[in-house]
Symmetry: C2
Subunit: 193 residues, 2 copies
Amino acid sequence: MGRWKPDARGRLGKAALELYAERGFDQTTVAEIARRAGLTERTFFRHYADKREVLFGGAAVLEERMAAAAAGAPASAGPLDAVAAALDAAGEMLQEGREIALLRQPVIVAHPELREREMAKLASLVEALARTLRGRGVPDPEAPLAAEAGVGVFKVAFERWILDPDSPALPEILRDCLSALRSVASDARTPAS
Amino acid sequence: MGRWKPDARGRLGKAALELYAERGFDQTTVAEIARRAGLTERTFFRHYADKREVLFGGAAVLEERMAAAAAGAPASAGPLDAVAAALDAAGEMLQEGREIALLRQPVIVAHPELREREMAKLASLVEALARTLRGRGVPDPEAPLAAEAGVGVFKVAFERWILDPDSPALPEILRDCLSALRSVASDARTPAS
């Protein structure tokens, strides 16, 4: 994802998403994508390995930025504060590409194989965050638990952001959701034994 | 999952899991499963729609029991306490079938398509728990956040239980992990704004 600059990669990506939305992912060919972008198939394959990479190329960048932000949180920050830094980074990156995210989402939702791939990317994100937290000295099971909680917040916030046209900016929703999770976790009526 | 009784369904399930573990899921035929169980293919198809259902038939039961336990928590229980009741139910059900879970897990892990299906089942579990919490009057985004957190706890606890041969019983690990999540969420060094 990220901002689509008026370069070849950006034009191809936008053309692809528009076509996936109009005709469906399976019905779109690389030739059609290249044609709509005013470029050649050869140029497409210089930028993307295949049709799916247009949709998932951003996931690796997102994971990298989130892990870097968590790693870079102050040494004094607790596990969920490091996760909060990762969520801030994700919010900034995705908010910039909201137009793309809005085109992309219905394509993913409509296609079981793409939905499954999206879930696999989120599982990989949990792993990356858990590794980063362990690198900060967070023990198990706290590290994977904080990572799971962070990705849970991401999923809930992302869905609200995508579905509501008048939604606040993603970084704000992410902070609200993380805050709501903290309340839910501390607001137990019966004490955790 | 659940306990495998010495009935036809149980014998077929156990034979199938043994064969998947020995030869791989793709290399096992229904004829072989039936033969090992001392039954016919026809009997297999009376109990299971296909080879995959042996692995995932228990997921629907698990989801149902967890949702029922959350729904049945005292009216005064907060969202995460209702989730704790669901986790207790899951722990009891799976602990009874530990032998099966141990046979099943490497089969899933070794096979991308089965892993993806497992993730889809967990996503469905999140949905079911969020619906149940909404039914208890928990608003959004707290309902899906508590559901995500609960399934996150389930995943982390389940993995510890499966990987450690000397592991405590699953209900105990689930309670420890939920407790650890509560500490992580409340132990922020910098306040949630």
